[in-house]
Point group: C2
Chain length 455, copies 2
């Protein structure tokens, strides 16, 4: 484990070697572009060279400490000792595939299914959220007999060929599948609809009708219930109900992509969809499931899954291996033992309240919304026009980095700060984040005023 | 680590509780079919409940010790201490994504690229072989401007939507993509061609021509150079050269799927394709890369990769994280330090010699072939007709299990034993395997003779 003395060592090391380390970062950046594919994009104009993490904090090679307000992979906290111990213990015993019997996967599955509606009784395991969504789409097609998939306008559901075709967030370089249809995101800040649920359900019906007009049979609606890529849009609890009814009425399935909101993140419930009182046909998981160990899952109603598994073989070599499952078990246990769902709700609520106060002082903050520790902080040129201010959002992200707060942006206009810290984020961290945001917003506003003055 | 005393404890435990454990296995099997998707197929009529592994050995819940002759995931040996230590150390420091700088991925990439031809200079990382092949197909399409992919008749390249469409091994339940074409496997035992290389190249040209006739532009040839799913067919060194020339002449790329033969398995070289003196455009890796920790890679010529990455974003959250890379680094180091490539060649050669001797005594063994510790052992009704004997192969696999030797079958007829132990397999293990095979073959032959006698 990281100790106080290693931190102090790093700090004294820093004083002497800061210049050398900057050179080191240049060297790493160059080596990176030489050796890795150009898809490897770095965060920040001046990249961060991280070497250590613990809880909600990260340290760079200079020994500087950062507040992580972005990472939902290390969801129960960076380097959580329970996950380290569980993985270490299982690695010493056995790590093999699922074609032999092993108790661990069954105990975990029982535990995991216990968090889900009673209708969902079957589990499968993969390594990434992309793999889970890729399979979910194939299940939707096998069950419905159709091919058409509806997603939201800025959705991201994965990096495989199939999931890229339902991920408009990837931009124009990646064409959508001919069978993909988009619905506008249920964005309460921008959509003027007195009844968001009825409006959203109608949008889905419209796209199903458009599919039919093109001879495409509807297969399913795939959505992350908090619409994170669309700008973190929790919306009112329950509004998704009508949409799911429309999906079922038209013979499709509802796939709840819980890669982002799942595992206690939203505070109100263990799963994002739960606040809507709906029962998905398929639930997919990923990022936070193993706190960084690659493990993902697909949970389904048995009759829906059977339509696929009756005909099509599926075997994922690493999926559900005892080591991945050990990590996943530790995560589930820690969420319970540390009460992280309630924690997310409480601290997330406090953070949202402070952000709302901050917003009062900054005209550029258009909206603050979220549930638990999943918060969207939307920046606009002014509140009246609500014009998205992407340039400001990017500047703020860079200014936050200078104050050692790590986060990033989301939404179709790239103007929404995505505030999604590890659930280890504490009340005492709020001040760091909110002050840094305050400074960043003030500095950016000042710089703009200065730039506006003719020379 | 597993100690002598735990083994003894397990043994005494066994004597008392064998009956209870059988009940336990029944319980696990039932629980498994209740909780997991029906795609989860178990090996063996009487499933094996494994609880521990070390090197080339596995132990079940009864304390019985098995010789693993099948697992190329735990390639450098089950529970190798170097991988355990590397993962444990890195897990205590940091495990995050690749959008921050980190030295480990760069050091490893430099090291890995050093094992490849100089033309291949760029790396990307994912979590599974399926993800690597899925991306490889998309790269082939971006680079060539075409869509058509050629694979061998019984190929298996992955479990995603895209890779399933180029995996005829999945059977008729899983349709091939309309753009997929199959070539017969280069099977020296069954194909009567004086020049295997010329014959195989002509088969590829035929399929490219067929694509053209259907208005499909050729994108690439995707093959595991040992054609493992087709029945483990190393063929003569160098024969793939002409095929690769045909591929390039027609504007396609050659993707070497090294998920099976890579990482010193074939003994002759570090990579399977290397014995053919060809330079692939893209190399994909998976199973043995992290000895069980989910990590895979895609290595490519820069100009080929650029055709994809210039337009299409790709980010794999877990891919290339410091913990996965730590495992991969340990594997690469152990292969070198323990001289596993030479070991695979030598012990594999000894094993093949013993298997050839065994074959002389059993009329049902049609062919023994392999390179290093990757061996196909083909069973036929008789040597003259070469009629594949799948029933015998399945019976032998079950009889081997009774003698605590774990393996499975491959090939379009399911009649080839796939002998592919962890590289930790030693000379002193040969006897266990060969005697067990001898007994299994004799017993099966005797049972058939008995069954043939009228009652």
């Amino acid at each position: 484990m990281a100790t106080r003395s290693t931190i102090m060592d790093t700090n004294s090391f820093r004083a002497e070697h800061a210049a050398a380390l900057d050179a080191d970062e240049r060297r790493l950046t160059e080596k990176r572009s030489k050796l890795l594919g150009d898809s490897y994009r770095l965060f920040y104009r001046k990249p961060v060279h991280l070497v250590r993490g613990q809880g909600q904090y990260l340290w760079d090679a200079h020994g500087d400490k950062y507040l992580d307000v972005y990472n939902n992979v290390a969801s129960i906290g960076h380097c959580h000792p329970a996950v380290i111990a569980a993985v270490h213990e299982q690695m010493q015993q056995l790590n093999t595939h699922t074609r032999y019997l092993h108790g661990r996967i069954l105990d975990y599955t029982e535990d995991l299914l216990g968090t889900l509606p009673a209708e969902i009784t079957k589990a499968m395991y993969m390594c990434t959220g992309s793999e889970a969504n890729d399979l979910a789409i194939r299940i939707a097609r096998a069950y419905s007999g159709g091919t058409g998939i509806i997603v939201s306008q800025e959705a991201y559901h994965g990096t495989s060929g199939l999931t890229s075709g339902v991920s408009p967030a990837l931009g124009s370089g990646q064409p959508l599948a001919a069978t993909t249809r988009l619905v506008p995101a249920p964005d309460r800040y921008r959509v003027d609809a007195p009844d968001l649920g009825a409006w959203f359900a109608a949008e889905i019906q419209k796209q199903i009708d458009d599919m039919a007009a093109h001879g495409i049979q509807f297969a399913g609606f795939l959505a992350d219930s908090i619409f994170s890529s669309d700008g973190v849009l929790p919306g009112p609890a329950g509004y998704l109900k009508e949409a799911v009814e429309v999906v079922h009425r038209n013979g499709g399935i509802f796939i709840a992509d819980e890669v982002q909101p799942g595992f206690a993140r939203t505070g109100e419930a263990f799963w994002g969809f739960a606040r809507h009182g709906v029962v998905p046909d398929v639930v997919t998981t990923g990022k936070p499931m193993g706190n960084g160990i690659p493990v993902s899952g697909l949970l389904a109603r048995p009759e829906v899954l059977a339509a696929f598994s009756d005909d099509i073989p599926y075997f994922n070599t690493f999926g559900g291996n005892p080591v991945s499952i050990a990590a996943a078990q530790a995560v589930l246990r820690v969420i319970r033992e540390e009460g992280l769902q309630r924690h997310s709700l409480e601290v997330g609520g406090q953070l949202q309240a402070e952000l709302a106060k901050l917003a009062e002082r900054h005209e550029n903050v258009g909206d603050v919304r979220g549930t638990g520790l999943f918060i969207g902080f939307e920046l606009v040129t002014d509140r009246a026009s609500k014009t998205p201010d992407k340039a400001l959002a990017l500047d703020v992200v860079e200014k936050l980095r200078e104050q050692r707060v790590l986060t990033s942006v989301a939404g179709p206009h790239g103007n929404v700060l995505k505030l999604r810290p590890p659930l280890a984020f504490q009340t005492h961290d709020i001040d760091w984040l909110v002050s840094a945001l305050d400074t960043a917003l003030s500095t950016c506003a000042q710089q703009r005023r200065n730039a506006a003055v003719p020379a």
